[in-house]
Amino acid sequence: MKAADRDSRIENELVAPLREARPTLDELHRARLAGAIEAALDLEKQAPARRRAPRPAALGGLLAAAAIALMTGLTWRPPRRPTPPARPAPATVARDLPRTTPLLVPYPGAHQGAPKTGASTSLVALPGERARAARSTMDRCRPTMFFSSALRITGTISPFSSATAMPTLTSR
């Protein structure tokens, strides 16, 4: 389509009807508009600072947006990564646990370090030393070997015979 044809079409179909359209105002409409403008001017005169202040709707919108942003910030979590295989939790010290009665009560003087023990050959105990057994209790209780010298001393057995010696009375 040529530009002239296009312009004539627009002129006939669009511009001419718009030129003929005549928006009119009746007296009632004028009075209503005048009343609204007068009321707005009175409102401005009473509260001139209100014009600069944000409107209640806008203020409410701002407050709502701030609240949503705050809630989103509080509940937001970073996207989860694939969880690695579970590892055993490291041992924690007892002070992190709730206060309960400890099962293992440290002995008095634990703060002084490990108790000193004297040499096993010493028969004199140093001050603060624990008593130390040369043999364990179980070792001492278990008869590992037959101690035959006592029987020989008492004459229960004869060193020369496996038979039991009988005490005999002898005269000199």
Binding site: M1, P17, P23, R30, L41, D42
Partner: protein, 203 residues
């Protein structure tokens, strides 16, 4: 209780008071002088606003905003240009802002109903003529919805109202070549919209 703006002028028909005098008085707080300005310019403001934004339901709110803006701006009016130019710059600013809001979808944009279009029809026409005119106007404003606010305002001022390019440029705060370019682009877009047939505007 607000005091209604006097509808009848406080001055007689023979009292030819120019706009500049009324503007100075209104800027000093004379509400009657402002009422005279309102009555003097309401028709032209309403007609231009209707051509630019269409017979939308929010026209009354826009008219109110225009005159409130004028009242606030009167202390800054120095008289370098005519008060009519000063006022109609406000009209076009308010209209373009409203069109931008409507195109961004922030403002309510409802289809034009017959009652709104009836305000544009010729009062003495027959009912059939009025119905045909309403149908035609509805289609025209749907085509105009395709234009950007600046092109729509330039097209209305130059093509429909017949203003010279310089006057339209003064009202739209642009150069005359820029206005000419906007009108050409508006004509091309309107022709394309009319060629497509059924308009898809949001009016």
């Amino acid at each position: 209780m607000t005091r209604p703006l006097p509808i009848q002028s406080v001055r007689g028909p023979g009292d030819a008071v120019d706009d500049m005098t009324l503007a100075r008085a209104a800027a000093a707080g004379d509400r009657r002088a402002f009422a005279d300005l309102y009555r003097r310019h309401l028709d032209s403001v309403y007609a231009r606003l209707t051509r630019v934004v269409g017979p939308a339901a929010e026209r009354d709110d826009l008219v109110q905003q225009i005159f409130l803006d004028l009242y606030r701006a009167l202390p800054r009016f120095r008289g370098d240009a005519a008060l009519t130019t000063f006022l109609h710059r406000i009209v076009l600013n308010v209209a373009c802002e409203h069109l931008e809001r409507r195109q961004r979808g922030r403002a309510r944009s409802e289809p034009l109903d017959d009652r709104q279009l009836e305000t544009l029809t010729a009062p003495g026409a027959s009912p059939e003529q009025r119905a045909r005119q309403r149908q035609e106007l509805r289609r025209l404003f749907q085509h105009l919805e395709h234009l950007s606010p600046k092109r729509r305002a330039a097209f209305m001022l130059v093509a429909v109202e017949g203003l010279p390019l310089e006057d339209a440029a003064a009202l739209l705060n642009a150069s005359a070549p820029a206005i000419k370019q906007r009108v050409l682009e508006a004509r091309r877009e309107l022709a394309e919209a009319m060629d497509r047939g059924a308009p898809e505007g949001r009016t």
